[in-house]
């Protein structure tokens, strides 16, 4: 809720040139680092032959990717489906349970510490068990892991968002004779949105990790995790890094998609908080 006792001028709907200029100054160092980094990668790695076989030049990696792009793309999609499915199940379950726990506070208060503790469990270690449930080759086994990994952070953050409302805001609604349902709809849920989106963004990464790393305990040939592990195992590093690159790109894309939805839904919030 806004508390602004000091006078603040309404934001000037400012000039485009000034904004661009400021943006350039903010982003120039990062751009410089990027260019230097890529150049160093290419240059140093070619120069220092010793490490080359471990970290091939970017150009070699990209070439390997291109040559076997079908394999990489299909592996990427297979794994992404596992991650997406797990994300969808885990995140929606987390939000629903959070709503229940926020509605019946006594239950939420009792269970929250356990949810936080459960969040500390290395869920990925349960991959062999889900493999036994769904079959080692089935995407469902990794989806289950991804879902459980996503569930707890989403639950915890959504619950925090639903319950960290200023008491005065609730009193205001009571002064309007609002029922619990209306309070939820008009106050708690909008208040929770920033928390939910933060959790969802984290969940995208967790889901990807669940899907990929779950494979390290055994999985389908068609999955990215197996590809990485196998290639590394036979010292085929261009393949391994190409697969890792695919994983990174997918991870970033997934995260960015959620961030985009966030910006569209909550333009008001993101702009008020400034950059990151």
């Amino acid at each position: 809720m806004s508390t602004a006792p000091t006078a603040v001028q309404p934001l000037p709907r400012g000039s485009l040139a000034r904004t661009v200029g400021r943006r350039a100054r903010d982003w120039a160092p990062a751009a410089i680092v990027f260019v230097v980094g890529i150049a160093a990668w290419e240059g140093l790695v070619r120069g220092l032959d010793v490490e080359r076989f471990l970290l091939p030049p970017l150009s070699d990696i990209l070439q390997t990717f291109w040559e076997q792009r079908d394999t990489f793309v299909s592996a990427g999609l297979f794994t992404f489906k596992e991650a997406l499915g797990g994300f969808a199940i885990g995140a929606s379950a987390g939000i629903l349970v959070a709503i229940v726990l926020a509605r019946w506070r006594w239950l939420g208060a009792a269970l929250l510490p356990y949810a936080i503790a459960a969040n500390a469990i290395p869920i990925i270690a349960f991959a062999p068990i889900t493999n036994n449930w769904f079959g080692i080759l089935s995407p469902a086994s990794k989806m289950a892991i991804a879902a459980v990994i996503c569930f707890f952070p989403v639950l915890i953050n959504t619950l925090r968002g639903l319950t960290s409302v200023q008491p005065a805001a609730i009193e205001l609604m009571r002064s309007y004779a609002a029922g619990e349902l209306e309070i939820f709809r008009r106050v708690r849920i909008p208040n929770a949105l920033p928390y939910i989106f933060t959790a969802l963004k984290v969940a995208t990464v967790l889901a990807m990790i669940g899907a990929i790393v779950g494979d390290y305990f055994g999985g389908s040939d068609q999955a990215l995790g197996i590809l990485i592990r196998r290639s590394a195992g036979i010292f085929a590093f261009e393949e391994a890094w190409a697969a890792i690159l695919v994983a990174c790109v997918l991870g970033i894309a997934f995260y960015a998609a959620v961030a985009l939805v966030e910006r569209l839904t909550m333009g008001w919030h993101v702009s008020s908080r400034g950059s990151e």
Partner: protein
Amino acid sequence: MLRRALVFVAVLAGLVALYEGYKWIWETAGFTWPFVVNDRTMPHTWDIVGQLFEPSRTNGPLLIEVLWDAALFTAKEAAVGFALGAAAGFLIAVVLVHSGFLRRGLMPYIVASQTVPILAIAPMVVVWLGGRGLPPWFPVSVIAAYLTFFPVAINAIRGLESADPRALELMQSYAASRWSVLWKVRVPASLPFLFAAFKISATASVVGAIIGELPASIQDGLGGAILNFNQYYASSPESLWATNLIAALLGIAFFLAVLGAERLVVRRAPEHVA
């Protein structure tokens, strides 16, 4: 105090009841979705706990002894990794807070690394660091350190920069050196943020350690134990479940350790919320 213990017992009992209830219903009704339920796919909770006190193999030590040693081994890997990663993260944060150029240059990558499934690199790290005269568990600690580094770095930067501007101005009026300002103002301000990161990193380092043991083929830790008992799942599913139970407890133990440390170090006013 007593109430909290009662709630704990109640929740535990509730969870066991849910598990056994689900098992009973699914077995009796013969549902096959999402998966078939029998004593192999879902052993009874008491069998799992009971298995801990059976020998892990014929004439061998009790399972719980084996798992305890494995847990300690993994804990060591994770703790070393956590310490390294946290120290590195904090150091980088201090550097970045004092250099605007480096901060603007590197921050986007540090943040972007949060969106990337870093753990996927584990096999590469193991190959890179293996067989160089370093102890075989070292690459595992490096992986744990890597996972710890990013949350700590980001939160440390946010925390160091969150210092009250008026407190900083006060130090300026004392012509305090940057070192003084760092330790007297910024670091105390960063503590809540640091502990938030530590809580995440505690779990991450345990996960990193377990996962790291897999490509490194380390037998002595929990990762190795999981793979091992996975192979014998058909004959003794309870052993794998028991191993996972111990792994879960390890993660929780690390988390509680951070919580305990936080309670000692950080004193914060309670939030007034509804």
